[in-house]
Point group: C2
Chain length 372, copies 2
């Protein structure tokens, strides 16, 4: 069950305002999806997310597969029920974590790289759990089955998130793995997919316009419910990121939702919506918040980051941002107090900062939508 | 500004229901005060405390004196304004922390003991900061000045919290220090006290009924606004604690509020209210919650503790407690989900458990009050 309706198309840019219908209700686009990595947006409850105005969240297949396991979640009534979230849910495929966590876990890195080199071009990818080192295998079919058990509304296909930098040759080889997997995914979905769920394909191609065009063309041809663009925000830098957005946005099929994966800086979201992107996700609001950093803005087009742990805020009676409607600022918590909380490792501090950042993105998206 | 009015007196026990008027508004008694140790109830916002129904909270002079400092808080408009808490506030004297933290910080223990031995019978007590090891001095007058700067509604006098076990001789000597300090406190308060604040004296005397009676008599004679009983919950065991409550409760002056310090087990609160105690504080609700332990009850007279981290809960679809009105149970979070959150070190788990425990005590107090 999935419908995408464009309600308004900007005349000046590719921006569009729409609505997506899923088994767990509708959500408006453009949309930002907070990340409930291990089944929870760090420190924030489902009620708080709803109060801020989020209509859809993202959960990570990789984390939930490892713990508690998709079968456990299925027994508990699916991921929505488990998390007490009754609105739409997107699950990623786990591909990004398999590849990126592999790079971070130095102890396993060599072995994982080897495993990837050996296996990645065949059926799928072997990886080691970051929790206990146990070995697991993800294939395009397997991650679909996991996401069926999780009962999310939007299922993502397994892709290879091409690392940066990558040579043209390497980027092309990597993209072809993603394409092979995409084809297998849609074939499998047509036979065994759950009609209540939608499935999105993922475009790769690194920073090479030719590859990106080829990838858009191929992935679009497979008939997915939506198109995601991956392999951005992997260290390619702002200029390259913008280039990809400018190249890819305009050639994505107009009648499908466009999801730019892993992007969460306010300016980047503003930029990408002008090129027709509808969906965004990122761990930034809570990751920054946990470290005391908050976005502030005066005009909603330029954003600054302030680090509330700095002593310059220890006597600042003002809230994080003037005329801000976030739960922290609206209640009246001062920067001095939040500074004090961080100095004392009081978790209320990171919660207030995270709630502020989440609200900033929710409000930004509302403003973008109104302006279309 | 302080008024205590008894609205209802039980005919069967010494229980009474009352209301206390302070500069920051009224609160009903019996009352439980959550502890905002370093200016925050661990992980819980002021709005959440209000929603659960708390009318007064306690903050720790020791912690706030060390960081950010009472002068900083004064510059920021006082502790209520700093914490964004507009209801009544009690501050302890710091005495308990000076003595109990001294015992815990092994590196400093010898030196602190020595310092206490040298200084405690004279002007006050020297102690070392648990944050940076810096040396500080608390006297009865000094802790009053600090609490004046904090602008709390109820100021506690400096006492020596007698350790357990203590010989009769040691307990008597210790009590006499507390008495000397109490006299100095009230004398100082009469000259320099803030009329907007109230001041409570503290009864000591360890487990010795004779000393406790002597202490009640002396402290009551000094004209404090309220009477606190300290030196309980210091390792004396339930039987001794109940003995102290039974001995002391009935002889406290009826027209003053009776505050039993550091008590927070539901059964102990029920027991103590029967002996006329009106006020309670404890870190237990959040301390237990942080470690995954929750109170549950069927009849509100017997309470069990369950450890949600245990694997027996990993498939339990039910909320922490049946027909519970806490923010976690009311929203519908299952024990299986909270178990998962603890396994993943997701702070949402300890927040849900803490909110549940806080609500249990708030609800228990409401039920006790209604039953009087």
């Amino acid at each position: 069950m999935f419908k995408f309706k464009i309600q308004k198309q900007s005349k000046k840019t590719l921006s569009r305002a729409g609505v997506i219908e899923t088994a767990h209700g509708n959500f408006k686009t453009p949309v930002f999806m907070p990340c409930a990595t291990a089944g929870a947006v760090k420190g924030i409850s489902s009620e708080e997310l709803k109060n801020i105005g989020f209509e859809i969240i993202l959960s990570n297949t990789y984390h939930l597969f490892l713990r508690p396991g998709e079968k456990e979640i299925q027994k508990l009534g699916g991921l929505n029920r488990f998390m007490n979230w009754d609105r739409p849910m997107l699950t990623d495929s786990g591909g990004y974590q398999v590849f990126s966590l592999g790079k971070n876990f130095r102890d396993y890195a060599e072995e994982i790289k080897e495993a990837i080199l050996v296996n990645v071009k065949n059926d799928g990818v072997w990886f080691k759990s970051h929790i206990d080192g146990s070995k697991h295998f993800f294939s395009p079919e397997k991650v679909i089955e996991i996401q069926k058990d999780l009962s999310s509304d939007i299922v993502m296909v397994l892709d290879e998130c091409t690392e940066y930098p990558a040579t043209l040759k390497r980027a092309k080889d990597s993209m072809e793995i993603t394409h092979t997997w995409a084809k297998r995914s849609i074939d499998y979905w047509r036979r065994f997919g759950n009609k209540k769920q939608a499935i999105f394909g993922i475009v790769q191609g690194s920073v090479y316009p030719k590859l990106r065009r080829e990838s858009v063309k191929y992935i679009s041809s497979l008939g997915f419910d939506g198109l995601a663009v991956g392999g951005v925000s992997v260290g390619e830098g702002k200029a390259n990121m913008k280039k990809i957005i400018r190249n890819v946005g305009p050639i994505l099929p107009k009648d499908k939702p466009h999801y730019l994966m892993g992007i969460g800086e306010p300016e980047d979201i503003i930029f990408a919506t002008k090129y027709g992107f509808d969906m965004f996700d990122c761990v930034l609001p809570t990751r920054l918040g946990r470290h005391g950093t908050c976005w502030v803005t005066k005009n909603w087009s330029k954003f600054n980051k302030i680090d509330l742990r700095k002593s310059q805020f220890s006597q600042d009676k003002k809230t994080i941002m003037e005329s801000c409607g976030c739960p922290s600022c609206k209640a009246g918590y001062s920067k001095a107090y939040i500074n004090h909380l961080f100095k004392n490792n009081e978790m209320l501090g990171l919660r207030l900062a995270s709630l502020h950042n989440l609200w900033i993105l929710a409000e930004l998206i509302r403003r973008i939508r109104r302006s279309i």
